[in-house]
């Protein structure tokens, strides 16, 4: 078992390794995004073809969110963000939710217009119909998910900080 005995750690090496792990995560997320886009272009927009990519990105995101709240890092990030920015963290997230909804609307609208319409008039009609329907559905859903997620994560993260600083002040 001597072979697997934990070695002494060098803080510089550890910091560099952590930097590499962070870059690796970004690289994997980028590859998954490119793969999803490639499959959408070559095989059409369908969720059946992108399960693996979705599982990888969603599982990794959930793990990061879980560990961040468990360690109280989420609250610290919110605090830092609000120290250095005029708009609040939650406001930025709401804008992100709305923008994501609009982008989804545009993608689905274009998909309907290109793949299902026979005439130009029909294309325009399908585009706007799908775009507006998607907006009406996804924007409120994304906003609610972000709000609920934010509130739950913040509460759990604040509790983690309280536990860590229990003996203090």
């Amino acid at each position: 078992m001597q072979l697997f005995k934990k070695k002494h750690l060098d803080e510089r090496v550890e910091a560099e390794k952590n930097k590499i792990y962070r870059e690796t995560y970004i690289l994997i997320a980028t590859i998954c995004t490119i793969s999803i886009l490639y499959k959408f272009i070559t095989k059409g927009i369908s969720i059946d073809t992108i399960y693996t990519e979705l599982i990888i990105t969603i599982a990794a995101s959930f793990y990061i969110a879980f560990r961040s709240t468990q360690k109280g890092i989420f609250s610290s990030e919110v605090e830092l963000e609000e120290q250095h920015s005029k708009s609040s963290y939650i406001k930025k997230n709401l804008v992100l939710g709305i923008v994501t909804g609009v982008i989804l609307g545009l993608v689905f609208g274009l998909n309907s217009a290109i793949n299902y319409a026979d005439t130009t008039g029909q294309s325009i009609y399908y585009f706007f119909l799908t775009f507006v329907t998607t907006l009406l559905f996804y924007v409120p859903v994304l906003v609610v998910i972000l709000l609920v997620g934010y509130t739950a994560a913040k509460r759990s993260s604040d509790k983690a900080i309280e536990r860590q600083l229990e003996d203090d002040e």
Partner: protein
């Protein structure tokens, strides 16, 4: 080991953990954990704290071995 010297210096400057944290560009949690001895700050952060509290590194971060 708790860093009482840092806590005393902060209180002498009439600063809360959050105020000191803001001045040195970190979070309240980080200052709290340094005071509790649960987080080892980088030299850069130690220097920023020392400058804010008008103390030297020795005064705030040197552990006196004779004391517990």
């Amino acid at each position: 080991m708790k860093n009482i010297k840092l806590k005393l210096a902060r209180v002498e400057h009439d600063l809360s953990q959050a105020e000191l944290a803001k001045k040195v560009g970190v979070t309240r949690q980080t200052i709290g954990l340094i005071e509790q001895g649960k987080y080892n700050p980088t030299l850069q952060l130690c220097i920023a704290i020392c400058k804010t509290l008008d103390r030297t590194l020795d005064e705030l971060f040197w552990e006196d071995e004779t004391k517990a």
